[in-house]
Amino acid sequence: MRFGVVVFPGSNCDHDAWYALSHNLGQQAEFIWHDSSSVGNVDAVILPGGFSYGDYLRCGAIAKFSPVMAAVKKFADEGGLVAGFCNGFQILCESGLLPGALLRNRDLKFVCRPVTLRVETTHTPFTSAATRGQLLRMPVAHGDGCYFADERTLDMLEKEDRVVVRYMDNPNGSLRDIAGICNERRNVMGMMPHPERAADSLMGSEDGRVILESMVRSLVTA
C-alpha cells in the first residue's frame, strides 16, 4: 500500500508516521509537501501530529488554508482514506472534514502520558482489524485535545456509531471521553492519541499497529 504523509511547516510527527508505516508495517510511505495541489498516487493520506504553521491563531486553523488540504478534501470526497493523529485531528476538525473542535485541555496544560483507549466500533477502515471493546495503550501528547461538540452532534456521533475510540482515563476533559471519531462516510478519521508512537515493541506498546493495520487491510480488500 502507498501511504502519503503530509508535511506542513511545523509538522513534527511526520517522520514518526512514515517510520511506523515503512519500517514497522513494511508499507510504502512517502511525504507530501504542504503546497502540493495533489496528494499524488497514494492509497491513503496521514495528517501527522505537530504544530502546523506554529499552530498560531488556533491549532490547525492555518493548515486548513494550505493547498494540500484542498487536495486532501478532494481525495476524501472520492472515498480515499484519511487519518489525522493529534494535530492532524485538529486540522480535520478545522477543515470541516470532521465535526466538533479540540479545545484547550481541561487542566490548561500540555499532557504527555500513555492512555488506555477502548475501541468503540470496528465498523471503520481504521479499526476493522480490532475487536469491539478492545483496549489499546498508546501515548497522548497535546495541549489542545479536549474534544468538544454540541449535544446534538455528540448524540448524532453516537447514534451513527462514529465514535471510534474512547478514553478509559480521560486526560484532557474531552466530552463523553471521545478520543477519536470518523465522518459520515467512514473514510476520514481523527484521533488525539498517537498510534504511530505505539507501533514498535521497544516503545513499550504495539497497540497502535491495529489502527494502521486496519487501514492496510481495508485497502487490500477495497
Binding site: 511547516p9 511545523g10 513534527n12 510527527c13 517522520h15 514518526d16 517510520y19 511506523a20 519500517h23 501530529g49 505537530g50 504544530f51 504553521y53 506554529g54 499552530d55 498560531y56 496544560k109 500540555f110 499532557v111 504527555c112 502520558r113 501515548p139 501528547a141 495541549g143 498517537h194 504511530e196 508512537r197 507501533a199 514498535d200 515493541s201 521497544l202 516503545m203
Partner: protein
C-alpha cells in the same frame, strides 16, 4: 559606563591602537564578558580531561561530538539560562532550550533528546511557584513545538535559589561522521549569509547581564530577555539540515549569546580569516536600529553561514522553500579582521583573533577555604517514627515524583524513547543502528556546599552509576558550572575545587568532558547560590527493552549490590533525611571510594546485560529506604531484613554511593559477578505484594502499604503547588 575594567579598556586600545568606537566598545564588552570569554574559569577548565578514544570534537566548538560506531556520531552539550529565567521564567527557559538546540543542529546533527536540570527556591513562596510554572511551561512550549523529546532531568528546591533559579538545558543530536559542520569562515571571497528570523532589539546585553550579580534593578532588565519562536526554530532546523545536504555550505554557526558579533568573529577566528559585513543588509524587524544594536541583538532563531562562492542560490532556494529569510550580508576576507559597515561606512574594525580568543584571562585569588556556612559537627537527633520519616522524605520536593513537570513535556515524539523521565537514566535508540544512548543529568548543590571537591566527584559517580544501572557504558560528559561571584576568593575556591574534583572523577570513569558552560555571578543582593556543578553524562548500550526501577514479581530475591555501605554522623549531614526530617545541614557529603564505585558499576552492567535482574535502581537521595519505596511503586513491595549494626536513621537513609538495588530470580549469578569484581552483594529480602517492611534483627523499622508510599510520592509536587496557589 563601560562593562570593561580600566585594564580591559587599555587592552582594547592596544589592540586597536586607538580609541574604540561605540559599536566596537559594545562588541568588546560582550565578547569579553564572563559569559562569552570564560575569563575567570578558563585557566582552571584546562584541568578537565577532554580527550578519549571516542571524542571527535572536544571543547571550543558549538558542541562536543563523540563517535558511537557504525559511522554515526552524537553531538551534545549543556547550557544555562539562569539569569533570563529569573527575569522572565517562560521566555527565559524557552529560549534556553532554543539556544542549546541551535548549538546542536548548527553542527549538522538532528536533536533527538533534551534534559533539564532545574533549581528553585522552596515552593512555600508563591513567587517560586510562579517561576517553576513559568520555567516548566517555557521548556514545554519550546521543546514540544520544535519536536524534540524532553526525556529526563532533575529538579531541586533550596532557599539559596530563591532569587536565582537555575535552568540548565542539555541537548543531544545525532548524525553521520560525514555530516559534521563547523563554525569556520573558510575560503576567501566566499559569501557570508544570514538566515532565519529578523533582527530586533531584544536580548541586547543578554550576555553581559548573565555576567553580573542580580540587584533590585535587574527586574528592570526584562527587555534584555529574548523571545523565542519554536516554530521558526523548527523551520530553521529543517532548512539548515537540508541546505547542508546541498554541499554548498562551508561553515555555519548559530547566533546565540552576543548574536551577530559572536558568530562573525568566532567563525573568522577559527578559520584565521577576516569577515566583512554590511549591517544595512541584515534583515531587521524594527526600524531605526543603530549598528550597536544590530551587532548586539540576541534575537533568536538566527544563523550565520558561509557558502561556496557561486552556489549561494542553492542555499537560498532551500531557505525560501521553508519560508525563511536568507541574504548575503558580507564576505570572507584574508585580512583577519572583523569589518562592520553600515551603508558602506565602517563602524567597527577589529582583529578577529584578538577579539575572540584574547580576552583577558584572570587567575582570580582562591587561596582560601571554599565558602561554607554549615557547621561540621552533627546535632543530636533520634527518630520517633521511621515510617513517618520515610513518608516525609518521599513527599519532599527533591525526592518526590516530578510527574507534574515531565507530563508537560512531550517525551515520546520521534519514537526513540526507550526510557523516558522518572528512571535512573533516560534512553533513546538510534534508528538504523543497534545502539542506544543512555543519558543522565545530575547535580548536588547540597553536597557541594559541604565540600565542592567531594560533591563534584559524587555527581560524576552518580551519573555514571545511573547509566550503568540501565546497562550502559559511560563514555563522555558535559558540565554546567553554576557558581556565585568569582571575584570573591571563597567563591572562586569553590569553583576551583569543584573543577578539580570533577576532573579527577571524570578521569577515573573515563568520561572526558567534551564541552559545557560556566555560569558565574549567580548572586542576588550579595547572597551566592550554593556551588552547583551539573553534569550530563552519556553512555552507550545495545538497543533492547530497558531495565526499569519497579519490582515486577512477588517472591524475588532483593539484593543490594555494593553492600550496605558505611556512614558516620558527620557524613550524614548532607542527606535528604537531614534536610526533610531534621531541617538541618552539617558535616560532609557521603564518602566515595572511586575504585569501589567503578567496580560496582562494572558489576551492575554485567548483571543487567546478562539478563540476571528483573529490576535495578541505584541508591542516591534518601538512601536505601527511599530506593526501596521507589522500587515498590507498582504494587510489589518487599520484606527486608538488614542485619546491620548501624543506627536505624543511618542504615535506612544514609546516601553512601556505590550501591544498586536489584530484584532477581538468580541471586547466585549476581553473587558470582560480585565476586568477580570484588564487591559485596547482599541478599536483603524478598519481594511481596502490597507492603514494604524493613526490619533489623527482627525489630521492625518501617512498615507501610505500598499504595501509601506511592500516593505520597506521586502527588506531593501537585499538592504543594495547589496548597500554596492563590
Amino acid at each position: 559606563m563601560s562593562a570593561l575594567t580600566p585594564f580591559e579598556l587599555d587592552k582594547v586600545r592596544q589592540i586597536l591602537k586607538r580609541e574604540p568606537t561605540q559599536t566596537e566598545l559594545g562588541i568588546f564588552e560582550v565578547m569579553w564578558s564572563e559569559h562569552c570569554s570564560y575569563k575567570s574559569s578558563r585557566i582552571h577548565l584546562k584541568k578537565l580531561p577532554t580527550r578519549g578514544p571516542r571524542v571527535l570534537v572536544g571543547p571550543g566548538e558549538n558542541a562536543g561530538i563523540i563517535d558511537i560506531g557504525d559511522g554515526v556520531a552524537i553531538a551534545f552539550k549543556i547550557e544555562s539560562h539562569n539569569h533570563p529565567s529569573f527575569i522572565e521564567p517562560f521566555q527565559g527557559a524557552a529560549t534556553g532550550v532554543g539556544g542549546i538546540l541551535r548549538d546542536i543542529f548548527t553542527m549538522g546533527a538532528r536533536p533527538i533528546a533534551v534534559m533539564d536540570a532545574l533549581r528553585f527556591g522552596p515552593l512555600t513562596e508563591p513567587r517560586n511557584q510562579r517561576i517553576l510554572e513559568g520555567v516548566v511551561s517555557g521548556i514545554a512550549h519550546y521543546g514540544n513545538c520544535f519536536g524534540v523529546p524532553t526525556v529526563g532531568g532533575e529538579c531541586v528546591f533550596e532557599p539559596c535559589y530563591n532569587g536565582n533559579p537555575l535552568v540548565n538545558v542539555f541537548a543531544l543530536g545525532v548524525f553521520k561522521h560525514d555530516e559534521i559542520f563547523y563554525g569556520r569562515a573558510t575560503g576567501v571571497g566566499n559569501p557570508v549569509i544570514y538566515v532565519g528570523a529578523k533582527t530586533g532589539r531584544d536580548g541586547i546585553h543578554g550576555a553581559s547581564m548573565a555576567s553580573a550579580e542580580f540587584t533590585e534593578e535587574s527586574k528592570q532588565k526584562r527587555p534584555n530577555v529574548q523571545v523565542g519562536d519554536p516554530f521558526m526554530e523548527k523551520l530553521l532546523l529543517e532548512a539548515c539540515l537540508e541546505a547542508m545536504k546541498t554541499g554548498a555550505i562551508v561553515g555555519i554557526q548559530d547566533m546565540g549569546a552576543a548574536g551577530l558579533t559572536c558568530s562573525t568573529c568566532e567563525m573568522g577566528s577559527r578559520a584565521g580569516t577576516g569577515i566583512e559585513i554590511d549591517l544595512a543588509l541584515v534583515p531587521q524587524r524594527e526600524t531605526g536600529m543603530i549598528p550597536y544594536e544590530i551587532m548586539l541583538s540576541e534575537s533568536q532563531e538566527r544563523m550565520l553561514l558561509v557558502a561556496e562562492k557561486g552556489r549561494e542560490q542553492e542555499v537560498f532556494d532551500v531557505f525560501h522553500k521553508w519560508g525563511l529569510d536568507a541574504v548575503t550580508v558580507g564576505t570572507v576576507t584574508d585580512s583577519g579582521k572583523l569589518i562592520v559597515r553600515n551603508h558602506g561606512t565602517v563602524v567597527a574594525e577589529i582583529p578577529n583573533r584578538e577579539l575572540a580568543d584574547e580576552a583577558p584571562l584572570y587567575d582570580r585569588p582562591h587561596n582560601t577555604a571554599p565558602f561554607r556556612s554549615a557547621p561540621m559537627d552533627a546535632p543530636e537527633f533520634s527518630s520517633s517514627d521511621l515510617t513517618n520519616d520515610l513518608l516525609k522524605i518521599l513527599a519532599s520536593g527533591d525526592v518526590c515524583s516530578k510527574r507534574w513537570i515531565y507530563q508537560q513535556y512531550d517525551y515520546t515524539v520521534r519514537t526513540n524513547t526507550l526510557a523516558g523521565p522518572g528512571g535512573d537514566a533516560a534512553i533513546v535508540r538510534i534508528k538504523d543502528t543497534d545502539t542506544s544512548i543512555a543519558m543522565s543529568l545530575d547535580g548536588s548543590g547540597r553536597y557541594c556546599a559541604l565540600s565542592p571537591r567531594e560533591g563534584a566527584m559524587l555527581i560524576v559517580a552518580e551519573c555514571c552509576r545511573n547509566l550503568s544501572t540501565v546497562g550502559a557504558l559511560p563514555v563522555a560528559a558535559t558540565n554546567n558550572l553554576n557558581f556565585g561571584n568569582p571575584e570573591r576568593p571563597e567563591i572562586m575556591a569553590q569553583l576551583v575545587e569543584a573543577i578539580e574534583g570533577m576532573a579527577e572523577a571524570c578521569r577515573h570513569f573515563e568520561t572526558p568532558i567534551t564541552g559545557g558552560n560556566v555560569s558565574l555571578y549567580n548572586e542576588t543582593l550579595g547572597e551566592a547560590i550554593w556551588p552547583t556543578p551539573v553534569m550530563g553524562i552519556v553512555g552507550l548500550m545495545k538497543t533492547a527493552p530497558p531495565m526499569t526501577i519497579p519490582f515486577k514479581n512477588e517472591a524475588r530475591t532483593v539484593m543490594l549490590l555494593g553492600g550496605l555501605g558505611s556512614c558516620d554522623a558527620t557524613r550524614f549531614g548532607g542527606t535528604q533525611y537531614a534536610k526533610a526530617v531534621l531541617g538541618k545541614m552539617w558535616g560532609l557529603p557521603p564518602a566515595l571510594d572511586l575504585d569501589y564505585e567503578k567496580r560496582v558499576q562494572c558489576a551492575i552492567r554485567e548483571v543487567v546485560n546478562g539478563g540476571f535482574a528483573e529490576s535495578a535502581h541505584d541508591l542516591s537521595d534518601g538512601g536505601l529506604a527511599v530506593a526501596l519505596a521507589e522500587c515498590a511503586s507498582q504494587g510489589i513491595g518487599a520484606a527486608v531484613d538488614l542485619n546491620t549494626a548501624l543506627r536505624p536513621e543511618l542504615a535506612l537513609f544514609h546516601e553512601g554511593p556505590s550501591r544498586v538495588l536489584v530484584s532477581t530470580t538468580q541471586p547466585q549469578e549476581i553473587e558470582r559477578i560480585a565476586r568477580d569484581f570484588h564487591v559485596e552483594a547482599l541478599r536483603i529480602g524478598v519481594t511481596m505484594k502490597g507492603r514494604l517492611q524493613i526490619r533489623n534483627d527482627s525489630v521492625t523499622w518501617i512498615d507501610c502499604a505500598v499504595e501509601q508510599l506511592r500516593d505520597v510520592r506521586e502527588n506531593a509536587l501537585e499538592n504543594q503547588l495547589t496548597v500554596h496557589a492563590g
